[in-house]
Symmetry: C2
Subunit: 475 residues, 2 copies
């Protein structure tokens, strides 16, 4: 019998209890098969280096409790019928004494945000608090087909480490072509690195392009998710105002190594950065050797006017890291995003990816390539643009109908949410009372917020529920 | 026609050339469909704010080159037959002027290892240089079945963010039961965090449990992969010798915050840490408030003697982070590993996972749960233990036959490689000359290496090729 029992002579627990516990847990956990022969007390006492009587004491207890049985002349065996959980794997009860352990966590660990789980949806509430895609409208059957096809790639492709951390080459080709087509991004597949969502992209930017303590210019108000990443990495957020043309260049400090912007659809205000401002920003970054992080998080959903070209594509030598994600245009659990990099940064990002987790899983990358090359993604985006566009219109109409001149609406030209400023100071309290969840934009400001601004996510709320929600808000 | 063209008035390039280039690239990239109507020169000049003659100059060039065609009275259209790449998405040529960009990389970026790609396999070589699973022997059909089944999980599970970064709960249950059964790890599913391979686990340990500049005790010789992670994170490696009982406790410095060990099968020497040494190590870590990182990278493949219980399971309050991976027992591209944590560390790891990449992809986690609960994994491990056990025997026999008393073999009780020390100093040169790739263990030492020690990975080499390789080595 293969034994895996270990005795700790320094423990306060008596040796025979330790032996008893080891066997009992081992039997319950299925490490020893029913009917298997136990070592004799003589054998075990010799191998553990303890007195034979001590082993016998443990065996007696196990026999008494029905874990073991004896057969005359043949020895001792694991019982065929187990007393407790009958072959269920052992759920060790959490009897761990934790008092003696206090771990010294790093500063990074201490800076990590406490809020790492989605709060459960409060019952009966209408939720304008999310801007996630409506996954009910996603063509999951087509995706399953692409995945099934990907699973029939050669076993050597499916099973072995990817040769390269940068990502599946045909996917990088598809992404480069898609971005060139739809976003006027200028790049080749060699500049694309596939990552686990734009979350990982932003973490890499913080780790690779700045030192803890360095200053990073940040749109104010701005995206909380990015703020949390930068803060965890020890970067100092340097707020820069956002006016009707985008980030205010005069607010940038020359020591900032990074400038984080959302030029196509500023989060949360929805401002599209003007051409003039873009040129100024590029010039500023060149002058101060800063890197611009362009987070193009939801600009595929643009409802009026021409598609805005990406900042990245405006100049051949733009010092821009362009971050994109398939979470919004496909679905969140896919965990695939990408960066488009200046050629000099490709190697550092590859190294970081290799050391962080080798590479993004292959099957999803192959399936996504298929989904893109079959044109499914662009068809889906067109359908969603219509669906979300209608919901947006219903939301804007409802807000204007209920609040008339007491509301100003911002950022409704694109995206999955709008920002609204109310004259009425009681809106938030009334929302809570009437079971409507909206997001207070004050949390997105560094420093003092103007107040009374709220975000309304409409992408995953039906038209009927949107109308009902705004009605409740006005009551 | 949706236009995405942008003019940079500050550019050295003439405006009409910029317009020409924008349209040309846009047409080639497929942003504008063939036969689509162009805006008139009057419309475009108004919307861009440039002289009409400038636009006309660009149009003439495009007409001349066959990108556009005119129809009398109807206007100007994108040509049906494109001159250059006929509808292929544009591969922008890398004309980016990089001279003006020099990026300031972080110290982290500078510390990242240069070696981030698998070197191409040299032709005609016999490779003992890898200890990866033999993926030809993996039951890929069963895995495809588990994946196909997982793909039919409800769309809401497949598509939405996981509610919790910790990992799919049924998988954590399976992992806890498997580890309790096979490795005597003491844990509940609540202590398991699913990560993207043990690579991510070690990166998190470095980020969460130590500060850049902190000392970490490291087995010498030790695993280069971990050394690279710790070095990149700025940790100071403090080498500790390995004797026949494992890491030498007397070599540990009391200021080390982490102790990285491979107790079941020390890498690369193959030493199994003795019971006495384990107890001493636990006591040392408690006394100095250090955390032990137990990397149990390949102990499933143990060829003789009883399975060794994990260090983690030896004491209820062990200050141990147990790291495991499915790369060796399943296949490398799966990118799923896990940590088993003291309860106090679960929240910090969850927060780190959430901010690093939200969660590990769902489909693979569901499929792996299925694969485990169906018993496929443990059957596969048993089969592989036989297969690898035979290859190991063939390797050891061949080495002993060819080198007799001039070779000492270490670590052949477990794992996917052995270490061999040769008296003959010309072995490595001969290996290269005779096209045999082996790994020089000197690279795994911090400081001076004894020399003439080499590693032989046997898991993915057939018995015939193993014999041939060792024959070549002795020639």
């Amino acid at each position: 019998m293969r034994s895996a029992i270990v005795i700790d002579p320094t423990s306060a627990t008596a040796i025979h209890v330790q032996i008893y516990e080891s066997w009992r847990k081992g039997i319950l956990a299925g490490r020893f098969r029913r009917g298997e022969r136990m070592p004799s007390t003589r054998e075990l006492s010799a191998s553990l280096g303890v007195a034979r009587g001590t082993v016998a004491q443990a065996y007696e207890q196990l026999l008494a409790e029905g874990y073991l049985q004896t057969q005359r002349g043949a020895g001792t065996f694991v019982c065929g019928e187990l007393p407790d959980t009958l072959g269920q794997p052992l759920r060790v009860s959490p009897t761990i004494s934790t008092a003696s352990m206090d771990f010294r966590l790093s500063k990074y660990a201490e800076r990590l945000d406490e809020d790492f789980r989605y709060a459960p949806q409060p019952a009966g509430f209408i939720l304008f608090s999310r801007w996630v895609p409506d996954t009910d409208a996603f063509p999951v059957a087509l995706w399953r087909k692409s995945m099934a096809r990907a699973l029939h790639a050669p076993a050597s492709t499916l099973l072995n480490y990817a040769r390269d951390p940068q990502g599946y080459e045909p996917l990088r080709q598809e992404v480069a072509a898609y971005l060139s087509r739809s976003r006027a991004v200028q790049c080749t597949a060699e500049q694309v690195v596939i990552l686990n969502g734009s979350q990982q992209a932003l973490d890499f930017c913080a780790r690779l392009l700045a030192e803890p303590g360095d200053s990073v210019a940040f749109e104010n108000p701005g995206y909380l998710g990015t703020r949390r990443i930068f803060t965890a990495c020890g970067l100092q957020l340097q707020p820069a105002r956002v006016d009707e043309e985008g980030i205010v260049i005069g607010d940038l400090h020359k020591q900032s190594r990074l400038v984080y912007v959302t030029p196509s659809h500023q989060y949360p205000t929805g401002v599209a950065m003007s051409l003039q401002r873009r040129l100024e920003l590029l010039a500023w970054a060149r002058k101060h050797r800063a890197v611009i992080i362009e987070d193009d998080y939801d600009s595929e959903y643009r409802y009026s006017g021409p598609p805005l070209p990406a900042l990245q594509g405006m100049a051949n030598d733009a010092p821009v890291v362009y971050c994109g994600s398939f979470s919004k245009v496909m679905f969140p659990s896919l965990r695939i995003g990408y960066v488009v990099l200046p050629p000099q940064l490709v190697t550092p990002f590859n190294r970081a990816k290799w050391i962080a987790d080798r590479h993004t899983p292959i099957v999803e990358q192959i399936a996504l390539t298929d989904f893109l090359s079959e044109g499914h993604l662009e068809r889906h985006i067109r359908r969603m643009r219509k669906l979300y566009g209608k919901r947006r219109q219903v939301l804007v109409d409802a807000l204007q109908k209920q609040f008339d001149e007491d509301v100003q609406i911002y950022g409704d030209a694109a995206g999955m949410h709008v920002m609204a400023r109310f004259d009425d100071k009681a809106v938030y309290a009334r929302a809570l009372r009437n079971k409507v969840q909206i997001v207070n934009a004050s949390d997105l400001y560094l420093g003092k917020a103007p107040g009374n601004e709220y975000l309304f996510g409409f992408s995953s709320v039906s038209e009927r529920v949107i109308r009902e929600g705004i009605k409740r808000l006005a009551k």
